[in-house]
Amino acid sequence: MSSLPTTATAIAAAFAGGEVSAREIAAAALERIAAHNPALNAYTEVTAERALAEADALDAARRRGEAAPALAAVPYGVKNLFDVAGMTTLAGARLLAGNPPAAADATLIQRMHSAGGLLTGALNMDALAYGFTTENTHYGATRNPHDPTRTAGGSSGGSGAAVAAGLVPIALGSDTNGSIRVPASLCGVFGLKPTYGRLPRSGSFPFVHGLDHLGPLAASAADLALAYDALQGPDGRDPACAQRVIEPTTDVLTRGLDGLRVARLAGYFDDQAGAAARAASERAARALGSLGDIVLPEVAAARAAAFVITAAEGGALHLQALRDRPDDFEPLSRERLLAGALMPALWVEQAQKLRAWFRRRTLEVFRDVDLLIAPATPVTATLLGQETMVINGRALPTRPSMGLLTQPISFIGLPVAVAPLWPGGAALPIGVQLIAAPWREDVCLRAAWALQSAGVAAVPPAPTSINAR
């Protein structure tokens, strides 16, 4: 069993080469989940039957001599805000637990299915995706595989933990203000938040329409690109989806950074970063041949504007339920949603204007630079229940502050990959954001691959499976 491949790329190749059956892969993944999930609480539901059925179908197709698709026999999980046919879409919220089961899979799950993926289950998250720690009062906290007393990050915490623990090589998450990038950073895996409008969100539970992104987390840079390529394509149901043709990245991944101009984000991104985070961004900058530091204007205000828009839209979305069923809300975010619903429209209008201005100013930077580097989180994983964290001598509330460095970037929709670093051989990882111009996910992924090939970024063997042996 230990000889089975662990990355998506290797699994798909082994299956295509006839070395292993999809059923064997599925059974091994389900076995890992059964063994390690109780300690992690990454999964809220395991879809064992479905994974095995999908595996059997692949094995049958191979027997018929059909070509194996790109992600053939690759087990994956999805944040529980994706519709899975036959299951109630929880979005981490007891509020939604009584809803009828979804009639069909989310668009991205349909694409994973067509690409040969094996769906192993739904993954834990902060209620309604409002949070950065996956401390879910109703469904329990997800634990960090590198230290179970610590947060896995959030809101896609189950996705980060499942990949970091080696349960699956790929998981899908969502990112409104950092919810893919924060868990990728704190769990030490790769993650991609594509350009706003790239991947369709149809069939997923929304939070803030103008900020919601979906994307993959993965065990290697190549796995990340493989998943991303399978997920691309136009869609008629998500009005924000940009309907671009598929622009494959897997082929260009290994091209290195030749011809790409790299800079590091300083100013705000240093001020709001602890020592480990700064060390990580400097290390990545050196490894990628950064030309120097760049300071963006008014980043703190941009982050504040993202906060305002999030609270306003999230609050508006849930106002009726806040009125009717307040007790079913997560107490950690209920009154923040309510405050958002009640705020003056003026504040939202000003935030939207600032967003247009900040986007214009930031896009100017990409005339001279192709890739920007910044830390993904201010600190490494904090303890579960920890109320405050200290950044450069300032005590800040943990839960909202974990997104300080991701929020300004997703605010203007830029594509970002996160690569996990381990500064000074530390026991806890911290990620760097690799940020490119709109629609240039290829640049983000090439940088992630370059960091991994240089040995700067890595997803080490799963700590839980080490412990178990």
Binding site: T195, Y196, G197, G210, A240, A242, Q243, R244, E298, A300, A301, A304, A305, F307, V308, A311, L319, L322, R323, P326, R334, E335, R336, L338, A339, G340, A341, L342, M343, P344, W347, E349, Q350, A351, Q352, K353, L354, R355, A356, W357, R359, E387, P400, I412, G413, P438, W439
Partner: protein, 378 residues
Amino acid sequence: MSQLLEAIDLVKRFPVRSKGRKKLLHAVDGLNFHIDAGETVGLVGESGCGKSTLVRLLTRTLDSTSGHVRFRGQGIGLIAARAMADHPLRREIQMVFQDPTDSLNPRYTARQTIAEAVHLLTDTRGWAAIDSAVEVAAAQVGLPPELLDRYPHQLSGGQKARVGIARAIVVKPRLLVLDEPTAALDVSVQAVILQLLDRLKREMAMSFLFVSHDLNVVRLLCDRVMVMYLGQIVESGPAREVFARPLHPYTRALIASLPGGHGNDADLLVGGDPQSPIDPDAHRCRLFGRCPRGAERCQTQAPPLREISRGRSAACHFVAPTEREVFIDAALTVHKLHLPPARRAALTTEFDRVADMARQVQSVRLPDDTAPAPQFRP
């Protein structure tokens, strides 16, 4: 700071007979408040306003008529007063009583009194271990070891007060409730005991609830103060701010009447009779009749306790809340939302956070022609 204790709509009514009829005396009438971990809260108000009744509800020596008390997130209102003797929470909330003479067993030495608390409420066993706990507590309250083997009648008032405090802190409670801890003492001794309490407050990781009708005590010792009148909280806020700028007419009167105070005579209560706590009129402000600012409206409408500014609340029609409170209340009304006080307070905190963010956004001067625009053209 995390909440240690929370009272929600707490009510105590005593059945009484008046002119041969059954009536209800509203001793504690719908209190909402909290005490944070490590916080020292003062409770002031004139004799009979319900302070001791509230203390007995919190220490579970009296059953409430309705409402809840939560301690460390756990409801304790449901623990019947009778069952409290055996409950683990009994150690976590300790009392220091008003009269040290009354509250000490005359046949116990100081050592025995303190040791009994250790024996009854903690897991410490064995003579040596208990005795060393007793001596540590005695040292903390400044009681010389040679006095430990004396009986109450051989101790001064101040020394007896120290024994009462040592008995409470020896079990390391999370909340220490002191009901008029210095009222029975000579003025000269009062000051010394207050100094002792001030030191304990700084040295021990405990929360304190000081009950007193002496404003000076509260001013000296407390982070936050709650002012009670006829069973209700009429004002609360950070002690320094409340004393520097009292909002409610009753608080203003209390401060104006302090000896040597520089209060304004116009703030003093006027001559009328206080209202009775028995079956009070629910549609009338309890202070009406004695209030120097009372008006028509105060007779027909009882003012609710509302947040006036960050951390400060008052219950008076004529204390105007800040614009933010007016705004939040109006927005809640428009959206047909009714929030219990604890959620209303949490909402204010979150609203302040969003407001801070909006201020940061507003601090950026944008070119006049800036307009919101969609994210990107594909």
